[in-house]
Symmetry: C3
Subunit: 257 residues, 3 copies
């Protein structure tokens, strides 16, 4: 049994996700589907790449990851089939695999051009159904990637925001994501903040480090080593994002003491 994960900005109300699954089951009825998320903010390729980057490697090798956040659908952007770390990926070539490519050392990418695998006619507005889903299903059945089209040596990669060391004791980071609980996931690693610190997040100064979400005092902001390797800014029993009015892209200043 082959596993296909799905990631998109299609939401769960319309037929879009089910249509992709129907097409895939028509080609390989033995598939196991797992939805990573379909609530990526519309057209937010970075958020999709970040979300995929946090979870793909937890799946067994051979898993096919289908990722469709595709603002350029129907336009000149390429369609991509890739392998990395023993996994397979099918996606538009718009940077949605940036975190995958950044984490894996052995990636290979191919431009999908083998139209005989497409669902016909190919819509100009929903190629998730007509190109990406059938290609994912064919890969799950063992079609080697080179049969899908020519090698693509330089797939699109988004710049992944790095921390800036302004001075020895002064670091500038950024909010990468806000999770469901309102925790602010930063691009700082625990080793970037090895000692006492002051963090400026919006107008809030933070000096406390906790090991768990439940450790802070009520209403107190703190940093905590999150589950995906980044420091997070959190507040006990509340949403740090709402309380600080911050969202992805907002700067974080760190002064090491």
């Amino acid at each position: 049994m082959a596993i296909v994960t799905l990631l998109s900005d299609f939401g769960l109300r319309d037929h879009f996700v089910a249509s992709m699954k129907g097409v895939m089951l028509g080609l390989n009825p033995e598939l196991t589907f797992v939805d990573i998320s379909h609530e990526i903010p519309p057209q937010d390729v970075f958020s999709a790449s970040f979300t995929l980057g946090q979870t793909w490697h937890l799946y067994p090798p051979g898993t096919v990851h289908l990722a469709v956040v595709d603002p350029g659908v129907g336009g000149p952007r390429k369609a991509l089939a890739a392998s990395a770390g023993g996994h397979f990926f099918v996606a538009p070539d718009n940077g949605i695999l940036s975190h995958v490519f950044s984490a894996a050392e052995d990636s290979a990418a191919f431009e999908i051009t083998a139209e005989h695998y497409y669902r016909k006619p190919v819509s100009a507005t929903f190629q998730g159904r007509d190109i990406f889903a059938p290609i994912a299903a064919w890969i799950s059945r063992g079609i080697p990637l080179p049969q899908l089209g020519p090698a693509l040596p330089d797939p699109v990669k988004l710049p992944l925001p790095a921390i800036k060391r302004v001075q020895d004791a002064l670091i500038q980071g950024v909010v990468l994501a806000v999770d469901h609980f309102g925790n602010l996931v930063t691009n700082l690693r625990p080793e970037d903040v090895p000692r006492a610190f002051r963090i400026m997040a919006g107008k809030q100064e933070i000096t406390r480090r906790c090991a768990t979400y439940g450790e802070g005092a009520a209403g107190e902001f703190f940093i905590v080593a999150g589950s995906t390797g980044y420091l997070e800014i959190a507040v006990r029993n509340g949403s740090a994002a709402e309380r600080l009015n911050m969202k992805p892209g907002f700067p974080i200043g760190v002064i090491l003491q």
Copy 2:
């Protein structure tokens, strides 16, 4: 392995969907479930029928489609088992299969009366769990539809809104649905608008036709041939529905030039 799709207005927060799945797995543990949508607006049978109509035919023949938007639950409305195009359907007889019946040429419907297949006791408020789910599971195990009850020659069919040709060059259409991105799906087909046009949508005049969502200028409204065969009204990087303050049922005027 048999496939069962599920469509409802139950939402994803409560136990309702999981309860239907549990009942089905108890009768057939080898099922593959696919959720089409559980975010149909409460009691909106037309929206459910439209959503199902856009995706059921993409599944392999033999798939069982379980559709429960059921404002008349516990009342005199009949319970329905149907076949169409090699697929099976289980639903209240309230019009939720209208788009299926409209698209398939070989449909047959039966009134579910074989109470020995029900889960007992049958609740008057959640027959998705007690009647529709077990019937779907039994169908997935191969029970022929005629064993479920008598033929139902005239299942409920909602009127599907047709375009009106007011004059040779003047057409009146309607918004059928608003998708997750705010695109307005109309009941106009591309062949209904074969040449230059002016479309009146609310107070907005639209004269541009694009091939893809990404083609329009920022903020410009345009029409585009959507993936399910209908013309859509869209605006680049925005929600046409919000910008025009329109929703399903709103009229669209077309003047062919």
Copy 3:
């Protein structure tokens, strides 16, 4: 094929749920997943317990139910593996299994301490991925619960709100839950209200009993025997919760006539 259900407050936007599923598929690729709900209000252990209690028993024996609403993650709360009614449960020991334990007569609980089954390193903030998911997968593969750790004779059980008989004809109940449609699920059973009654719900007096949601007059409040054995307060074609401005925990007064 083994069945694992999942219940959490993780939402569907982030990678959390998919990360738990990936870990489980890595240990047992033959799993069938069913999501009960991931939209439990953040940290609302009672709501999670109530939701699980309404559906677990509908699944076939042998099902593994993974329930992670875990405000105390990383702290001293124990991790729990339990059996009840032929089903298995994996959860933090915080009361999330209260309704299961209350309904089953044959439950047994064990504290999870067998670290060799964990995913390493164990995060202090996402033990759903690192402890609960792998334990659920190992149970699905047949590991007996006693191998996971010592018996836990007294797992945490939340007080389940009982009705109070203030006088012979005067009962005080409470709202247990509000469902997707806005129906108020109370802790009253139909047999608690065996004859004519007046119910005070907020400022609203209710005297009507209906058999189905569709039976009431437009705008009229009524009680109805819900599908899980509790009386519900409903209003036709509307949300009783919104109209009465009530939510879980609000009192309900019943005067039997």
